[in-house]
C-alpha cells in the first residue's frame, strides 16, 4: 500500500540526487583549465538527458526487471511496461513504483557522470556519447542488478551495499582508471605543465550541491521516511565532516590547509559512507570518514607518482573510498540499526567481511575489464581522443563551439 510519507521522501530524494549531477559538473568543471570547463560540465550535464531517457526505455528493466540467472533483469518492463502508480511487490513496497524507478534513474545518471572525471580535457564528445551508452548498458545495469536487483547474485550472496558504494563508486572509480590508461595522459602532463584548477570557488559550489544531494542519495536509499532514513542521514554527515577535517590536517602537515583539499575530503567521506549509511550506527560514520580521507589521500599521491593521468582522481576518491566503505560495512554493520542488514566484525560476524570482499573484487574487476574493452572498441571505431590541435585549443571551442568566459585568454 502506498504510504504518503515514504512517497514524499522518495520523490524529494530523487530530486536531491538529480541535483548532484549538475553539482558534480561544477565540482569537476572548476578543477580543469578554463579552456575545457564547458566540455567537462557537458560530459556530466548531458547525461541528465541521455541516461534520463535510456533508463525509462530499457535501463530500469535491465537493472530491476524480473531476474535472469542473477546476472541481469529481463526486458519485461521495457518502456516502463507495468511500472505504474502501484507499488512494486519487491522494491520499496510502500511507494509507487514510478517513484522508485525515477529515484534509481538519478543514480544511473550520476554514476556515468562520475567516471568522466578520469577522461576530461582530451575526449572527443561524439565518442564519449557512444561510450556512455555502451557503459550504461553493459556495466551499470548489470552491476545494479547483481547488487540491488531481486535475485541478483551478489544480493543473494549477502553482500550489502546500502546506497551504491559498489554499484556507483567502485564501478565508476575503476572505470575511470581503465579509461585514463587507455586514453593516455593529457598533452603536457608528462612535461609537468601546470594543469591549474581554474576556479576553486566553482569546485566548492559543486561540493556543496553534492553534499546536499547526498542526503537524498543515502537517506533516500532507506526507501522509507522513518528512523532508518534518519540514521543514514546522520551517518552520512558524520563521515563527510570527519573526512573533510582529516584531509585538511593532512594537507596542513605537508604544506597548508587547502580549500580544494577540504572539499576533496568531504567527497571521499561521502563516497565511503555510501555503502554503509543504513547498516552502520551513525557514529561509525566518523571512523569511516577518517580512514577514507587517509586512504584516498595516499592513493592520490600514489597515482600521481605513477605518472597516471586519471585526471580528477575518480579512482582514488570514489574507487578506493567506495572499496574502503564497502569493506567497512563488514566491520561496523549492526542488525540493531537495520534488521534487513547483518552484523559485522565488531558484532562478532566475520563472514560479512568476506561477502563484502567478494562484492568488491567482482565488481572492481568486472568494471575495469569491461570498461577497458568498451573503451578500446570505441577507440578503434570512432577514436576516443580529439586531435592534438583540438586539445591545444581546448575542447570548449573544438567540441562545442563555445567559450565559458568572454575575454582573450584561453
Amino acid at each position: 500500500m502506498v504510504n504518503s510519507g515514504d512517497t514524499a521522501w522518495i520523490l524529494i530524494s530523487a530530486a536531491l540526487v538529480m541535483l548532484m549531477t549538475p553539482g558534480l559538473a561544477l565540482f569537476y568543471g572548476g578543477m580543469v583549465r578554463r579552456k575545457n570547463v564547458l566540455s567537462t560540465i557537458m560530459m556530466s550535464f548531458v547525461l541528465l538527458g541521455l541516461i534520463g531517457i535510456l533508463w525509462l526505455l530499457y535501463g530500469y528493466s535491465l537493472g530491476f526487471g524480473p531476474n535472469l540467472g542473477g546476472i541481469i533483469g529481463k526486458l519485461d518492463w521495457i518502456g516502463l511496461r507495468g511500472v505504474g502508480q502501484e507499488p512494486s511487490s519487491t522494491y520499496a513496497t510502500t511507494v509507487p513504483q514510478l517513484a522508485f524507478m525515477i529515484f534509481q534513474a538519478m543514480f544511473a545518471v550520476i554514476t556515468v557522470a562520475l567516471w568522466t572525471g578520469g577522461v576530461v580535457e582530451r575526449t572527443k564528445f561524439s565518442a564519449f556519447l557512444v561510450l556512455a551508452i555502451l557503459w550504461f548498458t553493459v556495466v551499470y545495469c548489470p552491476v545494479a542488478h547483481w547488487v540491488w536487483g531481486s535475485g541478483g547474485w551478489l544480493a543473494k550472496l549477502g553482500c550489502l551495499d546500502f546506497a551504491g558504494g559498489i554499484v556507483v563508486h567502485i564501478s565508476a572509480g575503476m572505470s575511470a582508471l581503465a579509461l585514463a590508461l587507455l586514453l593516455r595522459p593529457r598533452k603536457g602532463f608528462k612535461e609537468k605543465e601546470p594543469m591549474e584548477p581554474h576556479n576553486i570557488p566553482m569546485v566548492i559550489m559543486g561540493t556543496g550541491l553534492l553534499w546536499f544531494g547526498w542526503f537524498g542519495f543515502n537517506a533516500g536509499s532507506a526507501l522509507t521516511s522513518g528512523g532508518l532514513a534518519s540514521s543514514a542521514f546522520v551517518a552520512t554527515n558524520a563521515s563527510a565532516a570527519a573526512a573533510a577535517l582529516t584531509w585538511m590536517v593532512l594537507g596542513w602537515i605537508y604544506r597548508r590547509p587547502s580549500v580544494l583539499g577540504v572539499a576533496t575530503g568531504a567527497v571521499a567521506g561521502l563516497a565511503a559512507v555510501t555503502p554503509g549509511a543504513g547498516f552502520i550506527p551513525p557514529l561509525a560514520g566518523i571512523p569511516i570518514g577518517i580512514v577514507a580521507a587517509l586512504i584516498c589521500y595516499y592513493c592520490m599521491v600514489l597515482r600521481a607518482k605513477g605518472g597516471i593521468d586519471e585526471s580528477l582522481d575518480v579512482w582514488a576518491v570514489h574507487g578506493m573510498g567506495g572499496i574502503w566503505g564497502t569493506l567497512a560495512v563488514g566491520i561496523f554493520a549492526s542488525v540493531a540499526v537495520n534488521s534487513a542488514g547483518a552484523n559485522g566484525l565488531i558484532h562478532g560476524n566475520a563472514m560479512l567481511l568476506a561477502k563484502q570482499l567478494a562484492g568488491v573484487a567482482a565488481v572492481a574487476a568486472f568494471a575495469f575489464v569491461a570498461t577497458w574493452i568498451l573503451g578500446k572498441l570505441v577507440d578503434i571505431t570512432i577514436g576516443l581522443r580529439v586531435k592534438e590541435e583540438e586539445e591545444e585549443v581546448g575542447l570548449d571551442i573544438s567540441q562545442h563551439g563555445e567559450r565559458a568566459y568572454g575575454g582573450t585568454l584561453l
Partner: protein, 112 residues
C-alpha cells in the same frame, strides 16, 4: 615625450598611482599581466602535492610623459613599488614619436 612602462607588484598599484597623481601624472593605462624575470615562480597546492606556476601576476602601468617629467616619474614609481625583494618588477623608458588626442586632434606634447 617618453613612454614609461612599469611592471610592478599588483599590490603596489594604488600607492604608485597616488604618488604619480601627486606629481601631476594622471593619464595612464593599467593592465593585468603575468610574467617572470629572475624571480622564480611559486608553488601552489593541488588536492595532494603541489604544482609550480612560473609566470606570476603583475600589473603594467603605461604612461606617456614630457621629457622633463621622466626623472620624477621614475623616482615616484621606484619609491612606491620597491620592497627590496625579488619580483619588484622593471621599468622601461621608450621614445614616443607622436601622440594624438582623438577628441580634438591635438598632436605632440599638447596631446598628453
Amino acid at each position: 615625450m617618453k613612454k614609461i612602462e612599469a611592471i610592478i607588484r599588483p599590490e603596489k598599484l594604488e600607492p604608485v598611482r597616488v604618488a604619480l597623481a601627486e606629481i601631476g601624472v594622471f593619464g595612464m593605462t593599467v593592465s593585468d599581466v603575468c610574467g617572470r624575470g629572475r624571480q622564480k615562480g611559486i608553488a601552489l597546492q593541488w588536492r595532494v602535492g603541489e604544482y609550480r606556476v612560473e609566470l606570476l601576476p603583475k600589473v603594467k602601468i603605461e604612461a606617456v610623459v614630457l621629457d622633463e617629467d621622466v626623472g620624477k616619474t621614475l623616482n615616484a614609481i621606484v619609491r612606491k613599488a620597491k620592497t627590496g625583494e625579488r619580483g619588484d618588477g622593471k621599468i622601461f623608458v621608450l621614445p614616443v614619436d607622436n601622440a594624438i588626442r582623438i577628441r580634438t586632434g591635438d598632436e605632440g606634447e599638447n596631446a598628453i
